[in-house]
């Protein structure tokens, strides 16, 4: 699979149209997988792909990385789940479909955190997105690397995260409030969640707006709550539950839980899932005269 990938990268770079291949590689000590940016055909051997490649590289396509954008047309090594983020970026005008070459990787799952790796990919070290993955054979690509994977996701979302959400939903509002209050109080406002998120591409984040300042910037419970809830709302109908925010959070706030709950709600209410259609915006943000809901007419 890696040979195939390197071959493809080489072909693309030699072809001249692609200026950089964004992919995975080993760090210097060969202990962790880290993003690599290959600009020369002779460097393609640095590219690897394995179960440690959990990072969502699609962020490097956004305006947050103007230096990478300046390199020219990129090719990106992407798992099905990463492609969902690219798709949202395309639908929201952040990436032009013709301006990126998507190297789709067939995938049998990755580890939730690289530290958990002990030489074998077991169910209990995989994130819940892998348990419920319907894009192990990537859905929107320019080229596909790897053999087709035979996997049917469960009908109802399964895994620890969703069990937790279901259990949580049954609790009274006061308990739920208490739960989030406790978690958000610990937030240190480092904004790692925002920095790692492909879809937090705003030129100016609402939390940076100070005329007027809607969100208190100090790490005070009130401002923390406002920040985390507004970020969740800004992701509703857009988040693909890649889980990067939760992995990046230094104080382990279960951010993916709130994002996944919102995604479930959007699917239930509007039958919409983010990351499958390059033309669609989330239904809550689209005015259609033929909408069933008549409150806006």
């Amino acid at each position: 699979m890696e040979d195939q990938l390197r071959e493809k990268a080489k072909e693309l770079l030699e072809g001249g149209e692609i200026k950089v291949v964004i992919g995975y590689g080993w760090n210097n000590r060969k202990t962790r997988i880290t993003p690599v940016f290959i600009t020369k055909a002779e460097d393609v051997d640095k590219l690897v792909f394995n179960a440690l490649c959990v990072n969502n590289l699609s962020i490097y396509l956004t305006r947050k990385y103007k230096d990478i954008q300046a390199m020219g047309k990129p090719a990106i090594v992407a798992k099905g789940c990463d492609i969902k983020n690219i798709v949202v970026c395309i639908s929201e005008g952040q990436v032009e479909r013709d301006n990126v070459h998507i190297i789709g990787m067939t995938c049998s799952g990755v580890v939730y955190k690289q530290e958990l790796w002990q030489g074998e990919l077991k169910d209990n070290i995989m994130p819940s997105k892998c348990h419920n993955c319907d894009v192990r054979n990537p859905h929107i690509t320019d080229s596909v690397i790897g053999d087709p994977v035979d996997f049917t996701p469960p009908e109802e979302p399964a895994g620890m995260l969703f069990d937790k959400i279901r259990e949580f939903d049954s609790k009274p509002a006061s308990d739920r409030w208490e739960f989030w209050n406790e978690h958000f109080t610990r937030c240190v406002k480092c904004y790692a969640c925002r920095q790692v998120c492909t879809l937090c591409y705003c030129e100016r984040c609402i939390t940076d707006k100070n005329q007027p300042q809607w969100i208190e910037t100090s790490a005070h419970p009130r401002g923390n709550m406002a920040w985390n809830l507004i970020r969740a709302q800004h992701l509703a109908g857009r988040c693909t539950q890649c889980g990067e925010c939760e992995r990046a959070c230094p104080v382990n706030i279960p951010l993916n839980m709130v994002n996944s709950k919102l995604a479930l709600t959007v699917k239930e209410s509007f039958g919409y899932r983010a990351g499958y259609d390059t033309e669609e915006h989330p239904p809550m943000i689209v005015y259609k005269p033929e909408d069933e809901e008549d409150f806006i007419r």
């Binding site: 305006r63 929201e92 005008g93 952040q94 591409y201 705003c202 030129e203 100016r204 984040c205 609402i206 707006k209 005329q211 007027p212 809607w214 800004h234 915006h281 943000i285 689209v286 005015y287 005269p289 033929e290 806006i296 007419r297």
Partner: protein, 657 residues
């Protein structure tokens, strides 16, 4: 430091009975930036306005708050007043301490009302400090009008606008204009022949230099805004060349196939190439493409052979026309409720149970029987007819909650028409109440009952069934407290008037509101009865609700006068309360574009000096934007602001609480 004046209105005792206005003024005078306060009895009175003007000018105020009634009532008044005093009108803000305070609090110690008024006024004051001078948006007006619907209301509106010297496009869905009124026999309460008064109007519309008819056409799409609409009209294929056709009738005389006539409500047949009725305007037939064998399977073609001017064209296709207009009158009329809902009355199953419009056709001298009342099953002249009122109307469980308004009158008319044509016939009417409000209406129903011998029974009919070739009508007579069964030869149902089929989808295309019955909503039911919430679109006739002919005609004329007023100026002022994009922070995610219900936001290219596109940003069209604020809620980076209601202003108001 701002120089703000606060004027607290007592509104007689409307406000002062639960609010201590002097105290409100006093509290306001303590706030920074307030240089003067007034506590006044009636701010909206002429002396009040004069005082306001003088005070503003004398004290060189740069902003004022009027704590008074809702801005819906007098915002315009006060803004005009400060404008005359040399201040930007948008530097005048209203604190609503009447509808939102004094009227809802009944504490006569004035504690609650006063405290709340102070809060409300302070919030508005803080907002006002951040107000910017705004200038009205000026847009050109295209002085052509579109009228949708060629019934009496639409025709009246079209003629009135055209008579005022403006070009009008009249779009009608059916092959001929005329609408429901063209089907009626006589009209209440004067009993003049409907067609005799209708057809001259139709011809006038056809021949008017300034009216362009689009019959057999439908509005497909509407773009633009008040003064500058662009309408896409679908001219359905007639399969007849309108320029060549002379209306001689050879084609429909020769056509060997027949189908139920829509105009006659199925009482008779029409040909497959047809005009709906003899006085059709224009007198140009259409081919029924659902049924015509030539079009379906290329067989027959007789009409083409007999047509001397060679006007028949089987290859014709729907044509899409785009017209630019400045104002629109919607006059799409009504339908009768589908009687199939009333199975116990046997409509559709029993041939001699008909609806009111069918009876109109039977009584009409141009109708299928030449005006003789004959029952549809065997052509026999009925010896007795039972009229059932309120079929579907005032019946929340099976029909609609509202009164259809015209049925009491037309049923009385029907009994008279029947009596005049069948002298020894007996009419029975089952009614709930007789509602005959209107000039000479009550006298009309009394005449039907007292002089023309109609038997009125107060009660409802439970069922209609057939027995020995007669229709048995079983119902209650609540005045005598007994059950009655009446033997009749014919039953006429006064079915409810409902909104035109497809009224909702047209409303969505036009961007106007409608109620739960899909009747179109007026801007204000009393004070703006012909306006809609969308500027430049007006309403006429029974698309708003059940209406009789005089009302429809007056509403058509009223809508026309609104259009004339709109067309009287070359430029149109619009409120500058529109969305503004701060281009530096725009992400170009286009959520605002998809969210905008008015298609007011487009994508704009930002170019460098070499003319290369460096980025894209959202761009708001001031003409289209209504200031609804949807885009502002949608924008994640808070890049869009509403002029007059900026984030900063709203935040300041909230912070002042």
């Amino acid at each position: 430091m701002p120089r703000i004046g606060v004027f607290v209105c007592q509104c007689g005792n409307n406000i002062s009975s639960t609010v201590d206005t002097a105290k409100v003024a006093e509290e306001m005078s303590k706030l920074p930036g307030v240089v003067l306060t007034e506590d006044y009895k009636f701010m909206c009175s002429s002396p009040g306005q004069d005082m306001l003007k003088e005070t503003v000018a004398k004290n060189k105020l740069d902003g004022i708050v009027v704590a008074a009634c809702s801005p819906h009532m007098h915002e315009k008044t006060f803004r005009k007043a400060v404008e005359k005093a040399g201040l930007n009108p948008y530097k005048c803000e209203i604190a609503n301490i009447r509808e939102q305070c004094s009227w809802v609090h009944h504490d006569t110690t004035k504690k609650i009302g006063t405290a709340k008024s102070i809060d409300l006024t302070r919030m508005v004051l803080e907002r006002l400090k951040r107000n910017k001078n705004l200038t009205k948006i000026s847009i050109p007006v295209n002085k052509r009008a579109l009228v949708i619907g060629g019934g009496i209301a639409g025709i009246q509106a079209a003629i009135d606008i055209a008579d005022g010297g403006r070009d009008v496009i009249l779009v009608e869905k059916e092959p001929s204009i005329g609408g429901n009124m063209a089907k009626l026999s006589e009209t209440f309460p004067t009993m003049d022949c409907s067609q005799c008064i209708m057809t001259p109007k139709m011809v006038e519309a056809e021949l008017h230099d300034r009216i362009q008819l689009y019959t057999y056409s439908e509005v497909e799409k509407l773009d633009g805004y008040i003064g500058n609409f662009s309408v896409t009209i679908r001219k359905k294929a007639r399969f007849v060349n309108e320029d060549l056709c002379t209306g001689c009738g050879d084609c429909w005389n020769k056509c060997p196939f027949k189908a139920d006539s829509e105009f006659e409500h199925g009482l008779t047949k029409r040909k497959l190439i047809y005009t709906p009725f003899p006085q059709s305007v224009p007198n140009i037939p259409v081919i029924d493409k659902e049924r015509c064998p030539k079009i379906l399977k290329d067989k027959c073609g007789l009409c083409e052979k007999v047509c001397q001017p060679e006007a028949i064209d089987y290859t014709q296709e729907d044509e899409i026309v785009v017209e630019e207009v400045g104002a629109i009158v919607v006059a799409t009329g009504y339908n009768l409720m589908d009687e199939a809902r009333f199975a116990p009355y046997g409509y559709g199953k029993l041939k001699d149970v008909i609806n009111g419009l069918q009876f109109e056709r039977l009584a009409s001298s141009s109708g299928p029987t030449g005006g003789e009342i004959q029952r549809p099953s065997d052509g026999k002249v009925p010896e007795s007819i039972v009229f059932i009122q309120c079929v579907g109307s005032r019946d929340e469980s099976k029909g609609v909650s509202y009164c259809s308004k015209i049925c009491c009158m037309y049923t009385a008319k029907h009994t008279m028409l029947y009596k005049h044509k069948v002298h020894d016939g007996q009419a029975y009417v089952f009614y709930m109440d007789i509602r005959s409000g209107g000039k000479r209406y009550e006298e009309f129903t009394r005449r039907a009952i007292e002089q023309e011998g109609a038997m009125y029974l107060r009660g409802r009919v439970s069922r209609v069934y057939e027995k020995n070739g007669k229709l048995m009508v079983q119902g209650a007579d609540t005045l005598s407290g007994s059950q009655v069964v009446i033997e009749a030869d014919m039953v006429v149902l006064a079915t409810a008037l409902v909104s035109r089929q497809g009224a909702d989808s047209l409303a969505q295309k036009l961007g106007i509101g409608y109620d739960k019955h899909k009747f179109y909503s007026e801007y204000h039911p009393k004070l703006k009865p012909v306006e809609t919430i969308t500027g430049g679109i007006f309403l006429a006739g029974s698309c708003v609700g059940p209406m009789d002919i005089p009302e429809s005609v007056s509403m058509g004329s009223a809508a026309a006068s609104k259009v004339q007023a709109l067309f009287s100026a070359d430029m149109l002022d619009r409120e500058p309360i529109t969305s503004k994009v701060r281009e530096e922070t725009c992400n170009a995610c286009w959520d605002c574009v998809t969210a905008c219900p008015y298609v007011a936001i487009s994508k704009k290219e930002i170019k460098n000096r070499k003319g290369e596109v460096i980025r894209m940003v959202a761009n708001v069209n001031d003409g289209l934007c209504t200031g609804c604020g949807t885009c502002i809620a949608a924008c994640r980076s808070k890049t869009i602001d509403l002029a007059g209601y900026t984030d900063e202003q709203v935040y300041a108001a909230l912070n002042a609480f």
